[in-house]
């Protein structure tokens, strides 16, 4: 128990194990209708779908930690998709990512100039960015992509991805020209209860992992380090918590906010470029599909913490991946929701909250009945799970969320 309290890493690993076990049990119950609830393919797709949301979420955290609400994330992602695809087409996929990041950063700069420079309301400016960005993308597509073969006003020609990486030994990647054995797949093929499932998840993560995903994942510890372990990060957070106090201590609040919002746009742009280059291999109008908003939701969902945003994005990526791969698996997911509700009810009971426990039991009964009574879930439901989950979290867990104290407030130097 002592060890458990002291090690955050261990706790997270145990939590992850818990998730895998639950999924595994649900999978056994749902066989043979679906085998996709927990599999290498699902894990891989989950990660791929989660990365853009994660990047948008990180972008949101950077901006909001500095006290600027950024609902322009969506528009900045749109800029990222266009500039990413254009860069990839013109100079190759790696440059595509770089140019996509730059495009998003330009959107961030616009938001920063309006909100920090001119003191425009953050929501208003964000809405304006969201209106301007798709218009720009459409105009530029008409000018640039329309004259190329396979391209048009709403679409770019196909672009290459940056390539994937198989980890040596774990997923059979090459090491100095030597094809290492694929250990995880070996475990998966054994079909051992639980062990094979864990192997499948790990294999899905390590197998043909996009280099861009790897970079995105390293941005989480990097953001944590910069924001919480460096003087610069402290200044950024101070600007979001109490700008007047920060200013009195000599922090250049405007500069901090500017940098944070531009970084926010750059991260969103990376997310957009990832969608265009890695996920679909093409720029298509409307392909961001509100992921910027979902990223914003993970910011709240994750309590303004990068790791929280990762969890949120994985959850939403999972819902997205399942729906893409196997509609019947989504139906099996109801079982999971029912189980989760039972667990929550037990917890409420242990804490003596009888009325909450009763509500949760009723809800779980309803969900389980839904599972038993139907064959398939309406196709419209899975895409909106992130939105519903966010609403539920906001409704039931607001008291546990704490946003930066001066978030969203207009700050003018020298005015209280």
């Amino acid at each position: 128990m002592q060890l458990l309290r002291s090690s955050i890493v261990l706790r997270w690993m145990l939590a992850a194990l818990g998730v895998v076990i639950t999924l595994s049990i649900c999978q056994e119950l749902a066989r043979p209708t679906t085998t996709d609830l927990i599999s290498t393919g699902t894990a891989e797709a989950t990660l791929r779908r989660a990365v853009p949301i994660l990047l948008a979420g990180l972008g949101g955290i950077w901006a909001e930690r500095a006290g600027v609400v950024n609902i322009g994330l969506e528009g900045m992602m749109v800029l990222g998709t266009w500039f990413g695809a254009w860069g990839a087409l013109e100079f190759g996929p790696w440059w595509g990512l770089v140019i996509g990041v730059t495009g998003g950063a330009l959107g961030g700069l616009l938001h920063a100039v309006a909100t920090v420079g001119f003191g425009v309301d953050h929501i208003v400016s964000g809405v304006a960015v969201n209106i301007l960005a798709p218009a720009m993308a459409r105009f530029l597509s008409g000018e640039v992509f329309a004259e190329r073969s396979g391209g048009g006003i709403t679409q770019s020609p196909r672009v290459d991805s940056v390539g994937n990486l198989d980890l040596p030994f774990l997923s059979g990647g090459d090491l100095l020209g030597w094809g290492t054995p694929d250990l995880l797949s070996w475990f998966v093929d054994k079909n051992w209860l639980l062990i094979s499932d864990i192997a499948a998840v790990l294999s899905g993560i390590t197998n043909s992992l996009s280099w861009a995903s790897l970079i995105a994942l390293t941005l989480i510890p990097l953001s944590v380090f910069i924001l919480w372990r460096t003087p610069f990060g402290l200044r950024i957070r101070a600007s979001g918590e109490h700008p007047v106090a920060a200013d009195s201590l000599g922090v250049s609040v405007y500069q901090m906010k500017f940098i944070a919002v531009v970084v926010s746009g750059a991260l969103a742009g990376f997310g957009g470029a990832f969608i265009a280059i890695e996920q679909t291999g093409v720029y298509r109008e409307g392909q961001v599909q509100g992921r910027g908003f979902i990223g914003l939701a993970t910011v709240i969902f994750g309590n303004w913490q990068p790791v929280g945003a990762l969890l949120g994005s994985l959850l939403f990526g999972f819902a997205d991946a399942l729906q893409l791969r196997d509609r019947t698996a989504v139906h099996a997911l109801l079982l999971l929701v029912g189980a989760a509700l039972v667990a929550l009810a037990l917890r409420a009971l242990m804490r003596g909250k009888h009325s909450s426990a009763a509500i949760l039991v009723c809800a779980s009964a309803a969900v389980l009945w839904w599972y038993a009574a139907t064959e398939e879930v309406a196709g419209e439901l899975p895409p909106i799970t992130p939105h519903l989950v966010t609403l539920l979290v906001l409704v039931f867990a607001t008291s546990r969320l704490r946003m930066p104290a001066a978030n969203g407030l207009r700050y003018r130097r020298g005015q209280e």
Binding site: A114, I123, R138, F293, A378, L381, L391
Partner: protein, 375 residues
Amino acid sequence: MSIRRVALALAAPVCAFAFSIGLSSLVLMAFGTNPMDAWTEMLSYGTRLETFVETGNRATPLYLAGIAVAIGFRMNLFNIGVEGQYVLAALLAASAGAAVDLPPILHVILIMVVAMTVGSAFAGIAGYLKVSRGVHEVISTIMLNAVALAAVGFLLRSWLLDKNDTTLNMMTPEIPPSGQFPHLNSLVETFTREITRGRQLWGFMLVALAVGVLFYAFLNRTRAGFDLRATGLNPFAAEASGVDPAATVVRTMLLSGAVAGLIGLPEVLGQAHRYDLGFTRGLGFTGIAVALVGRNHPGGIAVAALLFGWLDSSAPILDVVGDAPREIVSILQGVVVLAAVVAYEVVNRIRRVAEARDAATAMQHPTETTDRSVS
């Protein structure tokens, strides 16, 4: 003093528009087109009677959308969910209209009531969540937008489809003639020539005008409207003087949603007479732009809606003539929004500084009209 106020108020939108035209011209020049050709082409096509009719038709829903957003904005409540509210309302109202048989005027009123109730109820969720659970309305309305659009897809596909329809275009049954809104062509034609090309000026424009007048009267002539404005200007002062903030939030959201419910009706009642896949979406977001450019004032929103409507209806000529891509107009609109909000902010600051200076001079050089000179 008041002349300066008016000049400042007008300077902002004019400057913003001029700046946007300039920037769009630069963009066009950067891509090797002569902007003057494009603008003159748009002007000459845009001043024809048919384009004006089209402008009116496009401006009507935009105006309603702008008012719906502005109702919230006036008390610093951001109803980003107008988009979801109006699409859901249009679908349910169109279905309700097709399901019943009523005498002409009653039928239209019923459809409008259904639309307003649906929009109101859906917006009310966000209002309720804000006052009861402290959920910020921006987040909840964004999330509810997705929920509404998914609900529209599901309802249309599984329950509200036209059973007799043989085409694959998903649509609700047609609303009978008693539930259709008459057009205003004959009214316009008494003053001008005949409107050609089968264009019809939607009569719903009159409803939109009435909504604008009611909005103005509500804000300036009623207690509830005063509460709303007071809360927007200074929530603490408003609460101290007896305004119930929770009730005002819920009431404002309900009202905003009710107007949002009407946005889809010009099209449903005036032209399509049903909800189908061709239904215009995205007006909720453009409505935000219109409200921002129009400064949340019923008159300003009208100007903004007409401007956006005119730009949209005269842009297609650019593709026909081939001077410039019509998408330049979308850029123009986007830049106008951003430039306008920045310009208003700057003007606000100039005004505040000027007022402070005036107050300071008044303090230093007391004139005979002030009490200070007497004492």
